[in-house]
């Protein structure tokens, strides 16, 4: 009779003991699994919270967000735009406040205003709207506000709307655009000859007092840039939203490396920009999640020890009835190892179906944990069995005879 058959026969014919062992293991297993499930759920919740949390970031001049302090070189903020190096980590980027570039022809400047800073011109320049709703910068039209000095540069189309052509008209003060094709959205100018496409024709919707400046919504600035590759853009601040919070540490490292010193566009002096990640809440939750994870790491060995203890206790309880059997087989010539293996195999066969069922029913992560419980339980049982199996046979037989 080999060990497996011996064990199976013992299990089948000692139904009561087998059933008790199975029930004890099942209860322990379910208790520990439930506890583990609870910890997993908590961890999941925290991680979900961390995922849903929008972490925003701001890159600005250390001096503050002053819209007239437009000194961030283009190459710095281009890194954040859709084709930039940080794009994989960012879900949304907004250049904040105003961005200007010089219009040499008129010795003035074009200032692009982002939606958030639409009130910039109202704050810094008295504005007089001629034909617009109040929030002009949310308009889908190409709109702009001019200073009075530039009023002479505008022309009026057949509908009576005033337009300014950023790309073309300042090249020829004499003629300006002659015709606007509404269907193609292009201007033609005989004076300019080959120039047929003028994508940034801005409808003038207001005037302000002051210098020679054109104010337009930021979204049109990129169009201007596309048409004027030599154009130098600068910004003083931008904001972004992190795409994947898991990658926040990586992004932070990259940012801190890149933004230690950025060359100023107009000077050779090194210019430092501040990168502020608004991740206080995220970090707080991360800390909480980490504490929870640490707690789990701390509790796990305790759970395994509990399973091991249960294995030890169960064997100790059952060994009272098995002492006689083990002493008998050892006195017949079975080795201590053989005797121990007979017992151990039984507990292994008890753990196996429970763990297999767990593997089939629950998720893989939990079934792996269940496997560890099983191993801990078997280890506990093994310790107990081996201690008994190595009791001197003479003493075992003496106890047997008593």
């Amino acid at each position: 009779m080999n060990i497996l058959r011996y064990t199976l026969v013992h299990m089948i014919r000692s139904k009561k003991n087998t059933l008790i062992s199975l029930l004890v293991y099942l209860v322990i297993f379910l208790l520990l699994m439930s506890f583990q499930q609870m910890m997993f759920s908590r961890q999941d919740t925290l991680l979900r919270m961390l995922d849903t949390l929008q972490v925003q970031g701001v890159v600005s001049h250390p001096g503050g967000e002053k819209p007239d302090d437009l000194n961030m070189p283009e190459k710095s903020y281009q890194a954040f735009l859709p084709d930039g190096q940080y794009a994989p980590y960012l879900s949304e980027v907004r250049l904040r406040s105003a961005h200007s570039f010089t219009l040499d022809d008129i010795n003035g400047s074009l200032v692009a205003i982002t939606d958030e800073n639409a009130d910039y011109i109202t704050r810094y320049h008295p504005i007089e709207y001629t034909d617009c709703i109040e929030n002009v910068w949310m308009s889908e039209e190409c709109v702009c506000v001019l200073t009075m000095d530039l009023m002479s540069k505008i022309h009026t189309d057949e509908h009576g709307d005033a337009w300014i052509d950023i790309n073309g008209m300042f090249e020829s003060n004499e003629s300006g655009p002659e015709a606007f094709n509404a269907s193609s959205g292009t201007w033609t100018s005989a004076a300019l000859g080959i120039k047929t496409a003028v994508p940034l024709s801005l409808r003038v919707i207001g005037t302000v007092t002051g210098e020679k400046t054109i104010f337009c919504p930021f979204r049109y600035l990129q169009t201007v840039k596309a048409e004027n590759s030599n154009m130098v853009l600068r910004a003083n601040a931008l904001s972004f939203i992190v795409r994947d919070n898991d990658q926040l540490p990586l992004l932070r490292d990259m940012l801190s490396e890149s933004f230690i010193a950025v060359d100023h566009v107009n000077t050779s002096a090194s210019q430092t920009y501040a990168v502020l990640l608004q991740d206080a809440q995220f970090l707080q939750l991360t800390n909480e999640a980490n504490r929870s994870l640490q707690m789990m790491l701390f509790l796990r060995p305790i759970l395994y020890l509990a399973a091991m203890g249960a294995g030890i206790m169960l064997v100790m309880m059952q060994m009272r009835s098995r002492k006689k059997e083990l002493a008998s087989i050892r006195s017949m010539g079975a080795s201590a190892f053989h005797a121990a293996l007979c017992c151990l195999l039984e507990y292994l066969l008890i753990c196996l179906p429970v763990n297999l069922a767990a593997c089939l029913i629950v998720s893989s992560a939990l079934s792996i944990f269940g496997l560890y419980i099983g191993i801990a339980f078997i280890l506990g049982a093994a310790i107990s069995i081996l201690v008994f199996a190595h009791t001197p046979l003479a003493r075992q037989i003496r106890e047997l005879e008593e």
């Binding site: 080999n2 026969v9 006195s331 017949m332 010539g333 079975a334 046979l393 003479a394 005879e401």
Partner: protein, 224 residues
């Protein structure tokens, strides 16, 4: 077959050294039935433990067919050469009669079919026919259980059978029966039987009776 040379055995019990066996020398021959007698604490059971290699002598040596028994692996020695029969039979309660008898043969890794034939033969020799084979130990009387235990000890073909008070739990009729079986095994099957007993009637059936007192072998039983 088995020779004891100046064998002593001491152990520490409750901070006191106990000399359980003191310089015993004797020889157990093949085909003889020995009875070990003596009062409680005389060292009979310790001597049996020494012969079965359950404990090691603190002095002297025990030889099996001229070889010190320390040279054998203890479990192999108990399995192949010296079988032990217990007072309370020690049958495995979840195995039936035939399975109990066959169990030691599974440790020997001998041919299963041959072992089965041998086991059935041993059981029949001891008066346990096929109707007993499937019975569980709990369904047997004490005498029957002891006969199964003897069959089990016989089944491995060990030349020496040791029995520690094998009739202690049996009535006199069964005790006589067991004694006659031992006598038969010694004389017909040339086994060496060493039996510890308190019962003078049992001892009478032995070829040689050894008396122990205070751990010593008495040359003159009248000294008891």
């Amino acid at each position: 077959m088995i020779e004891l040379r100046n064998v002593s055995y001491s152990y520490i019990g409750k901070n006191v050294r106990v000399d359980a066996v003191k310089s015993i020398s004797c020889h157990f021959e093949k085909g003889k039935f020995y009875a070990l007698m003596g009062p409680s604490g005389s060292g009979k059971s310790t001597l049996m433990q020494l012969i079965n290699a359950l404990v090691q002598p603190t002095q002297g040596s025990i030889l099996y067919q001229g070889k010190p028994i320390e040279t054998f692996r203890p479990n192999e020695y108990r399995l192949k050469y010296v079988s032990l029969i217990h007072q309370n039979f020690c049958l495995l309660p979840f195995l039936n009669v035939l399975e109990n008898v066959l169990y030691p043969t599974s440790l020997l890794k001998i041919n299963k079919q041959e072992a089965r034939i041998q086991a059935i033969k041993q059981l029949e020799t001891l008066g346990l026919d096929a109707t007993y084979h499937k019975r569980m130990p709990s369904m047997l009387s004490g005498g029957e259980q002891q006969r199964v235990a003897i069959a089990r000890a016989m089944c491995t073909g060990a030349p020496v059978l040791t029995a520690d008070e094998p009739t202690g739990n049996l009535d006199s009729e069964n005790a006589r029966h067991i004694a006659s079986i031992f006598s038969h095994l010694a004389h017909e099957e040339k086994k060496t039987i060493i039996m510890v007993t308190h019962d003078p009637e049992m001892a009478k059936q032995a070829d040689i009776v050894l008396h122990l007192k205070d751990g010593k072998l008495l040359l003159n039983p009248s000294d008891m």
